[in-house]
Amino acid sequence: MTNYNFSSKFKLANILSIILFILSVVFITFKGLNYGIDFKGGTLIELRSINTDISSIRNSLNDMKLGDVNVKKFGKEGDFLIKVEEQGDNNNIIPKIKQKLSDNLNSEINFRRVENVGPKVSAELLQSGIIAIALSLAAMLFYIWIRFEWQFSVGAIVALFHDVIITLGVFSLLSLEINLSIIAAVLTIVGYSMNDTVVIYDRVRENLGKYHKLEIANIANLSINETLARTIITSVTTLLALFSIFILGGEILRGFSFAMILGVFIGTYSSIFVASPILKFFKVSYKTLEKEEENIIS
């Protein structure tokens, strides 16, 4: 078993977390999130055309007055991704763009993916995404509250907020696209981070019962150390799987796997350096557990 003194770094880590959290909130509020068409509405076209470049695609779309048009390379040579903002006339925009591109570009075009999301649907998707994340946080809070004492519940939920906000903050900073699969990634991060926190909390509870005389800081420290091997091994295997998706899984899964990789790091960190210090903040002791039991008996 390792014997690192985690609790001595709690303060430093908390300052770091608070700074990152605030920075993330600032970025999300002022720079905003780069919503994809799932949440903003609009049209996305992925095409493959060997003898074309970005500027000729852009030029051929320019005189269509489509407003904000974004053209970029996407994965392999000859693959491009075009994003066009919401137009109002969704039913006819796709054939028009396709026609225009086929007429103007002097090479064969393979339209590999075409997506169009109307304003109503995108608003609903965003809403249900936010509800899903909020609901998952609430469900976790509730689960921990049933399984542990409220202090643990608060610790876990603060850690989850920390993870979600900082992950979104990084996405805002790097202007990475937020789409449906990112919501899936965020929910999985919530599950993963919770998983990590629960393992440490379980051990804290066990140790509180075993060592009545130890301070909570020491108990937390001991518990983190006892579970550290598991924490690291699980992170490693999960990251092996995730890097495999990130590198080999293709362009469509890249954002998703990046969010998850980020989440595994932040989630592992937060279980140790956010969720555990909160137990110290609440001065959790073996009495906390007993009180709870008394309540149940009486």
């Binding site: 078993m1 796709i94 999301v117 689960y143 399984r147 899936a184 598991r230 295997t237 469509i252």
Partner: protein, 511 residues
């Protein structure tokens, strides 16, 4: 925890073999059990369309159709009214005796004006008093709902007929919510034709053309730019059509649509054409004149022909639209996602490659970390994958690209259960002299943690399943099932394998 009765062992392996058996079905053609994991549109290519009905026009039409019955009701009962006005979706009027009106309006017996909807326990119409004697009649909440629901049902039926007629393979057409229709068309590379077929309501009617702008006519532009006054009275509508086929007219090789009418339609059409020989008849589709031929002679056979400078494709599509019937309201495509078949193939390839590589990496890592027990964890992991695919097969679930990502993630996270257990056993071995006891205690103590840890991920997956859409739902399914199979394989299969290993040579065990 290491003692298994023979019966337990039997049950564990029967469950594993039973579920595992289904995973084989995906790799083999057979006719007895027709179960397979479906590939999502993002993997096999195809089109997803979400259509929305807009019943506003319909409501306006319906409220207009109430005008005459209401006026009749008022007149028959000697109620004086004035300022009867039609405003979009409601009717305004000033009435002398509102109380008497209310009695008549909300009478449950033989109420033709305002029928009582038994299933909603509500009247179709409602009214409110604006001031003094001015009232405003409109559809009640449930009246609107009834109109909407029947329009939606009818639309789904028509959409199905039109799509079936085009002949795409295995289309899925489902109701989504109160106003939407989901259409999935596997293998369809270009949905434009379907979109244009679904984009027309195809309300066809035959109306006489009058000489001048007389009362009850409207001005429409004909197919060759002629201004025509078309009577609003409908001689016959598309409802009376029983068949329509594209055909080529012999004289000038022009594509046309020939149609057959039902008995009632043939009668109506026969009478109208007999009475109006020499006049012109406008064929109006969705408010536009398709053509306006002369009535040369009475048509009583119930067969007719529509010409209108069509290409053969247009004639084919029009015939299809007429055969399938008119949509009650226009449909709007509110979401569309089309994936080409080659992108789907690429996605499968990259998904499977990353799955294999991720799997091999995890297996190697576990072997180097735990050696003998790593092998057990790896065996459990393989069994886990087999069961995961087996359950997906039993459920005939749809595998999407995010779904594959969920499987890979399961590979990474599934070993967690065994890692928790093995690490716990390592700790127990420090204080416990008896190896068997240490293993026993390790399993027992890790159990709660393993459960707690997995339930949290399961909650996340369940919420994602409830709120996610399309491909993301596929991710939630594989992730969720992965957790269940993980618990089974770690707590039953791996534990049994461990017990075999430990009970048979407990002297040299190292973990």
């Amino acid at each position: 925890m290491l003692n298994f009765s023979k019966l337990n062992v039997l049950i564990i392996y029967i469950i594993f073999l039973f579920i595992g058996f289904f995973s084989i079905l995906n790799f083999q053609e057979n006719k007895i059990i027709d179960k397979k994991v479906n590939l999502g549109l993002d993997l096999q290519g195809g089109s997803y369309l979400l259509l929305e009905i807009n019943s506003d026009n319909l409501v306006e039409e319906k409220i207009q159709s109430k005008v005459i019955p209401i006026k009749k009701l008022l007149k028959d009962n000697g109620l004086n009214y004035q300022n009867f006005k039609i405003n979009n979706q409601n009717l305004n009027l000033i009435i002398d005796d509102v109380e008497k009106f209310e009695l008549l309006f909300f009478s449950k017996k033989d109420n033709v004006v305002n029928p009582y909807l038994d299933n909603y326990r509500s009247f179709e119409l409602d009214y409110k008093k604006n001031n003094n004697n001015e009232i405003e009649i409109s559809f009640s909440k449930f009246g609107l709902l009834t109109i909407n629901n029947s329009a939606l049902k009818q639309s789904i039926e028509i959409v199905r007929r039109r799509i079936d007629d085009v002949g795409t393979k295995e289309p899925t057409i489902l109701q989504r919510g109160e106003k939407r229709i989901l259409v999935e068309l596997p293998g369809l590379k270009n949905p434009e034709r379907i979109k244009s077929l679904l984009g027309q309501t195809a309300q066809l009617n035959f109306r006489l053309i009058s000489e001048n702008d007389e009362f009850g006519s409207e001005e429409l532009i004909s197919e060759n730019g002629e201004k025509l006054f078309v009577s609003k009275r409908i001689v016959m509508s598309g409802e009376n059509l029983i068949d329509a086929q594209p055909s080529i007219q012999n004289q000038n090789n022009e594509p046309t649509v020939s149609f057959t009418l039902d008995r009632l339609g043939a009668q109506k059409f026969g009478r109208a054409t007999t009475d109006n020989v020499g006049k012109r008849l406008a064929i109006v589709l969705d408010g536009e004149i398709v053509s306006a031929p002369n009535i040369n002679e009475p048509i009583t056979s119930g067969n007719g022909m529509i010409s209108g400078n069509f290409t053969f494709q247009e004639a084919t599509d029009l015939a299809l639209l007429l055969r399938s019937g008119a949509l009650p309201t226009p449909l709007l495509v509110v979401e569309e996602r089309t994936v080409g078949p080659d992108l789907g193939e690429d996605s499968i390839k990259s998904g499977v490659t990353s799955l294999i590589i991720g799997f091999v990496l995890v297996i190697l890592f576990m072997f180097f970390k735990y050696r003998m027990f790593g092998l057990i964890a790896n065996t459990a992991l393989i069994a886990n994958l087999i069961m995961l695919v087996g359950i997906l097969t039993i459920l005939e679930a749809t595998l999407t690209l995010p779904g594959i990502a969920g499987i890979i993630l399961t590979v990474g996270m599934a070993v967690d259960a065994n890692v928790l257990i093995f690490e716990r056993i390592r700790e127990e071995l420090k204080t416990e002299k008896s190896i068997i006891h240490a293993f026993d205690r390790g399993y027992a103590r890790a159990k709660i943690t393993v459960l707690d840890a997995n339930i949290t991920t399961l909650i996340a997956a369940a919420i994602l399943f409830a709120f996610g859409s399309g491909p993301v739902k596929g991710f939630a399914i594989t992730l969720g099932i992965g957790i269940v199979t993980t618990l089974f394989t770690a707590y039953f299969l791996a534990r049994h394998l461990t017990s075999l290993l430990v009970l048979n040579n407990n002297k040299e065990i190292k973990i």
